[in-house]
């Protein structure tokens, strides 16, 4: 993720004892240590037998850097009172002390980040009478409380942005049955975002920009 100005994300293929962390709503001392162990692991390519792995991985690319992230915790929807209907938030860790928080469910997206050069401290979307509205806090610059309307367009065809930024293997595998394209006229510098939903309507991959220079493509790997 060199375009984010962050240290290159190392590919993770560590054999880590993470069972107790997946699905947790809070993080105990042991979990914290396990995550430290996980993200400081050695570098390697994407594991071939992901389906057999007890761990969950996320592929991400920013600029020319590709990374594998490991799932640390999942925040249940009940703790997310501003956005209760939109599903739990997964917390993914890179090997370089960076964190992506990804909304699960039909509105799947990166909702917050930590440790990058540009971070969404928090963000949420809600539906109003006039359509979808996104609110976000962005650092650096303390741009807090930015409120933007979102246009959402559904498509069966693979959008150009998805072809350009997601893994070709993902496109070929035809896992995405529906594509969502979003745009905010109040934040034109972010361009369009693209989200791929599976047959159940769950978003499994996406491409979105945190700023004009910092854009991230991501995809859930394996099961």
């Amino acid at each position: 993720m060199s375009d984010l100005g962050l240290r290159r994300l190392a590919l993770l293929s560590v054999g880590l004892v993470l069972t107790s962390t997946v699905g947790c709503t809070s993080m105990g001392a042991s979990t914290a240590r396990i995550i430290q162990d996980a993200v400081r692991g050695s570098s390697a390519s994407i594991p071939a037998n992901l389906d057999q792995s007890p761990y969950k991985y996320l592929w991400a690319r920013a600029g020319n850097s590709e990374s594998l992230l490991v799932l640390g915790t999942v925040k249940n929807a009940e703790t997310d009172r501003t956005n209760p209907a939109q599903g739990p938030i997964e917390v993914w860790f890179t090997g370089n002390q960076e964190i992506l928080r990804i909304q699960t469910g039909p509105m799947g997206r990166i909702v917050a980040t930590t440790g990058l050069s540009v971070n969404w401290v928090r963000s949420s979307i809600r539906q109003t009478q006039d359509g979808w509205v996104r609110e976000r806090d962005v650092m650096p610059g303390w741009q807090y409380g930015l409120v933007e309307s979102l246009t959402r367009t559904q498509s069966r065809l693979v959008p150009r942005l998805a072809r350009k930024h997601l893994r070709p293997e993902f496109i070929v595998a035809n896992r995405a049955k529906t594509w969502w394209i979003e745009y905010s006229p109040q934040a034109p510098e972010l361009g369009e975002s693209v989200y791929a939903a599976d047959a159940n309507g769950q978003v499994i991959a996406g491409y979105q920009c945190l700023s004009a220079e910092a854009c991230i493509a991501w995809e859930r790997l394996g099961r």
Partner: protein, 952 residues
């Protein structure tokens, strides 16, 4: 995103919900991590971690102490801290301080519990006495007005600090301190046209202190006040006693003006854009401004306006000095047909510009500058110039100046200095004052008729485009070399495009009839750094008690050979010996490739910590250079582990740079104890390598650039720990020396001016073959002796002594003496007849003033001339140096020849800041306008000062 003040003022002031103070939240368990505690609470999106307040005994006491000091300074009873201000002011301050409800929040570098868990050095260990407060997102921002009232304003995204001040009636404030919730340092926010700077928006819960409030206070009062406010955490209703709160008074701002004028956004404010003029110094096109770039600035600029093409290299070693050199190509004049065929004329020159005073609300920034300061004086000129920003956000910058010499070539006003001294009415020509060039032409400075110049630039909000317009001080009717140019208009117009942070492209119309093109590449040398991506990942540091650590991590028995290998892998040390002395493990580092010792010792500590039993309490690293110990670093293991695995509970810790606490760097004499050697390693007898070398010279009569690329083999034979033989062999691969036939004239023994002969006589050369031995007479006194082919032009023998007192580490004194004979041009074993004794006494001094490092040498030079060399450099925190040197000897300017005396400018850049792996090498880029025979030093391969100097 424009907002209107009306909406700020008319918004109701809701009471702020607070999730809970310590009494509401469960108390932390002693020993519990903050990350664990916060996760236990089950945070929701409504909570505002920026408003998290962690209050400890230490932080509460620190805030209480500061409040006491502030109150003492306001006391009606005179005391040593008393503020020299009016009673009304003191009363207002006292009222404000009384209104604060002390919160005693300790600094936290991050507030994300998951990130804290990932990076334990950001995660404090709590105790049950700690108080923790969480807020829901505040809806207001607090402003401390010039009247010392606390005014609260509804938060709105993206608004500038100025908008909040306006809402509180503090329209006139030219600046403010912005204390963001959860932020470590207050930001100094400029709000007037003259000091506008890039600034963030105040966040919900931010504090703003209008600078106007500080009238008649002093620096420590302001510092204490900022820290007290910082320790309040995010502003909310319970930060202050309610009666103290002042809401914005709508009467202070008329409704009509509100609606007609949008409020400023933070993005409206940007830093002043400074761009290079055609001559490389900051300015407009032909004319300079009073602006000086930030210290560390370095630029290479090409600019062309017929008939002149300029290649400028400019540096800013300080915020008050911009200096550099240039080559000017004059397209319609010849260099000299007898020596340079059809090559067009080239001129070398040096510029310097000094800031005299900084811009303030009413006064402009003023600078004095010198063009072609010590060159041939072809374009020499001086100027005094003032610059002032204007416009609401400071987007305009105007200059007005007076030029003499080439800068004031129009010569349309009498020299005002002529009224004081008549000799200033006329300007001697450069040739009258300096026949050899290269001297300071003191007798011409600020002499003769002058001209006014000036202009204005406008920077667009995104800083990508800058428009320039100027009135030129030169009419090109007094050009050197009888090269007058037609000027259709004295107004020059230009535009600068800035596509990124390292490139400016300028184009314009000058003299009303000539197009101008400029390309500037620039960087900030002071901030150069490269992530060490090629280095192995540092070993994790386990935050376990040391007793448990031994059981779970340290292998049994300890394998010291593996430790040695791990150290080599992690920090590229060649470890010669590992010794245990009681509870200390001592590692002797025989060779290293380290510039950043903090980073290297961190990595080494991690290796030792993970592999050693808990009974080892202290690590010591002895750095040995050529068999001589030069430095010992001692680390207290437990202190170090603690500093890396938890956030210190000390209230001020977060404000310190992330280096080792100085307390752990102490040398402990343990000579009475017995060493137990745990591992040793033989050093290789022979080392060597292959590579390439590149040599170049600019601006000579045989071509603008003469260059050679050679293959190089070098090797070293180690005879003892402190004696070795070094040799290098070069073979020329590519060069453009076929036309190199010019040998400069000289009135002195030709000790350096046979350059052409040395570089063209043989493709295969042996530049160095030298035997060296070193030793120490005491802890502070080093010596070396050497002999052989010492450099490409000289062979001989020599010795050096260096006194480097430990009680005064900023100073060292060296002496060297050498008997040398000139080598044959083929750089083989042949020798020429000339021989000389040369040597110097050298004082090395880190002055501590403006990061200046001085090197002063006095002695006999290669041409047997005697004199002094002064070398001054600014050393930045990353190790980069910008410096200049000059040598004056008992050789007259006429004897010295062109240039008058030896001088130059250099930049030293550690490879470490440019490479993805650690390196101890340093790249030296030296510019010397001429190579002459006077003031020439022997180029010694090994200097004891550099050998015994560790990086940063």
């Amino acid at each position: 995103m424009k907002r209107f003040l009306a909406s700020l003022l008319l918004t109701a002031l809701p009471s702020l919900p607070i999730l809970g103070y310590a009494k509401d939240l469960p108390a932390p368990n002693t020993g519990e991590r903050m990350s664990v505690y916060l996760s236990r609470l089950g945070l929701t999106n409504e909570q505002y971690l920026e408003g998290l307040c962690w209050s400890t005994d230490n932080s509460r006491q620190a805030q209480a102490q500061r409040l006491r000091r502030l109150r003492l300074s306001l006391s009606s009873v005179p005391n040593e801290l008393s503020l020299n201000t009016s009673l009304a002011d003191k009363t207002a301050w006292s009222k404000l301080l009384d209104a604060l409800i002390p919160a005693g929040c300790a600094p936290l570098p991050v507030r994300d519990p998951q990130y804290m868990a990932l990076v334990p050095s950001t995660d404090p260990v709590l105790n049950s006495e700690d108080q923790i407060r969480l807020l829901v997102r505040p809806t207001q921002v607090a402003v401390i007005t010039p009247d010392k009232n606390i005014c609260r304003v509804d938060y709105q995204p993206m608004l500038a600090t100025k908008a909040y001040l306006q809402a509180c009636g503090a329209n006139e404030s030219s600046g403010a301190d912005l204390i963001q919730p959860g932020s470590a340092e207050p930001l100094d926010v400029g709000l007037a046209s003259w000091n506008a700077n890039r600034q963030p928006s105040p966040a919900p819960g931010a504090w703003i202190i209008a600078h106007g409030a500080y009238s008649a206070t002093n620096k420590w009062f302001e510092d204490d006040l900022r820290k007290v406010i910082q320790a309040q955490g995010a502003f909310h209703e319970r930060s202050v006693q309610l009666p103290a709160l002042v809401s914005p008074n709508p009467d202070q701002v008329s409704r009509s003006s509100i609606q007609s004028k949008p409020l400023p956004n933070s993005t409206d404010y940007t830093d002043l854009v400074m761009t290079a003029s055609d001559w490389g110094v900051m300015g407009l096109l032909q004319t300079p401004s009073a602006r000086i770039p930030k210290a560390g600035y370095a630029a290479l600029q090409y600019s062309k306006t017929w008939p002149y093409t300029r290649l400028n290299f400019m540096l800013a070693p300080f915020d008050w000095l911009e200096a550099g050199f240039r080559y000017v190509d004059v397209a319609n004049r010849l260099y000299g047909p007898t020596i340079a065929d059809n090559q067009s004329y080239k001129d070398k020159s040096i510029d310097a510009k000094f800031r005299l005073w900084q811009e303030s609300a009413y006064l402009p920034q003023v600078a004095v500058g010198f063009r072609d300061l010590v060159g041939t004086g072809l374009f020499s000129g001086e100027y005094l110039v003032a610059s002032k920003r204007f416009g609401e956000f400071g987007n305009w910058d105007a200059n007005l100046g007076m030029g003499w010499g080439y800068v004031g070539g129009r010569q349309d006003i009498d020299n005002p200095l002529g009224a004081l001294y008549s000799k200033y009415k006329t300007r001697p020509t450069s040739t009258e004052s300096s026949t050899s060039g290269g001297k300071f032409n003191l007798s011409t400075y600020f002499r003769g008729p002058a001209a006014l110049f000036g202009g204005v630039q406008y920077q667009f909000g995104n800083n990508r485009w800058v428009l320039k317009a100027e009135y030129d001080g030169n009419n090109y009717q007094n050009e050197p070399q009888s090269n007058d140019q037609k000027q259709s208009s004295p107004i020059n117009l230009g535009v600068v495009y800035r596509p990124n942070k390292w490139l400016d492209v300028t184009t314009g119309l000058e003299r009303g009839n000539r197009l101008m093109l400029g390309i500037t590449l620039y960087t900030d040398l002071s901030s150069l750094s490269t992530p060490k991506l090629s280095e192995p990942r540092p070993m994790p540091i386990r935050p376990l008690p040391l007793a448990a650590q031994h059981e779970s991590v340290a292998p049994s028995p300890t394998n010291y050979s593996d430790i040695r290998k791990s150290l080599e892998a992690q920090v590229h040390w060649r470890v010669s010996r590992i010794v245990q002395r009681d509870r200390e493990l001592r590692v002797e580092v025989a060779e290293h490739d380290v510039f950043d010792w903090n980073e290297a010792i961190d990595r080494a500590n991690a290796v030792l910590h993970n592999n050693l039993p808990s009974e080892i309490k202290q690590f010591a690293y002895v750095v040995v250079v050529r068999g001589q110990p030069v430095e010992t670093f001692v680390v207290d293991r437990q202190d170090w582990v603690k500093s890396k695995t938890e956030l210190a509970r000390h209230a001020e810790k977060f404000n310190q740079p992330p280096v080792f606490p100085t307390a752990i760097w102490r040398e402990v004499p343990r000579d009475s104890l017995v060493d137990q050697t745990k591992a040793t390693a033989e050093q290789p007898i022979v080392t060597g390598g292959l590579g390439f070398t590149y040599k170049q010279s600019f601006g000579g009569p045989n071509g603008f650039i003469l260059a050679q690329l050679s293959a190089q083999a070098e090797g070293e034979l180690r005879m003892t720990e402190s004696s070795w033989l070094y040799g290098s062999l070069e073979y020329g691969l590519l060069d453009n020396y076929k036309d190199f036939d010019y040998t400069a004239p000289s009135n002195l023994p030709r000790v350096r001016t046979y350059v052409r002969e040395y570089v063209t006589s043989s493709d295969l050369t042996l530049p160095t073959l030298q035997a060296t031995t070193t030793g120490k007479w005491s802890d502070d006194l080093y010596w070396s002796a050497y002999g052989g082919l010492l450099e490409s032009m000289y062979a001989g023998v020599g010795a050096e002594m260096l006194y480097r007192p430990r009680f005064m580490p900023s100073v060292a004194l060296g002496f060297d003496v050498n008997r040398v004979r000139q080598r044959g041009f083929k750089q083989d074993f042949s020798l020429r007849a000339y021989e000389v004794t040369t040597g110097h006494a050298t004082l090395y001094w880190k002055t501590g003033w403006q990061d200046i490092v001085a090197k002063l040498s006095a002695g006999q030079y290669l041409a047997a001339d005697r004199g002094v060399t002064i070398d001054l450099a600014r050393e930045f925190n990353n190790g980069v140096r910008i410096g200049a040197f000059m040598t004056r000897t008992n050789v007259s300017a006429a004897q010295f020849g062109e240039g008058s005396f030896d001088k130059g400018i250099y930049v030293s850049i550690p490879f470490d800041v440019m490479m993805t792996r650690a390196s101890n090498n340093i790249a030296n880029i030296i510019w010397r306008p001429l190579t002459r025979d006077g003031g020439a030093k022997l180029s010694r391969k090994y200097e004891l000062y550099e050998m015994t100097r560790l990086g940063r």
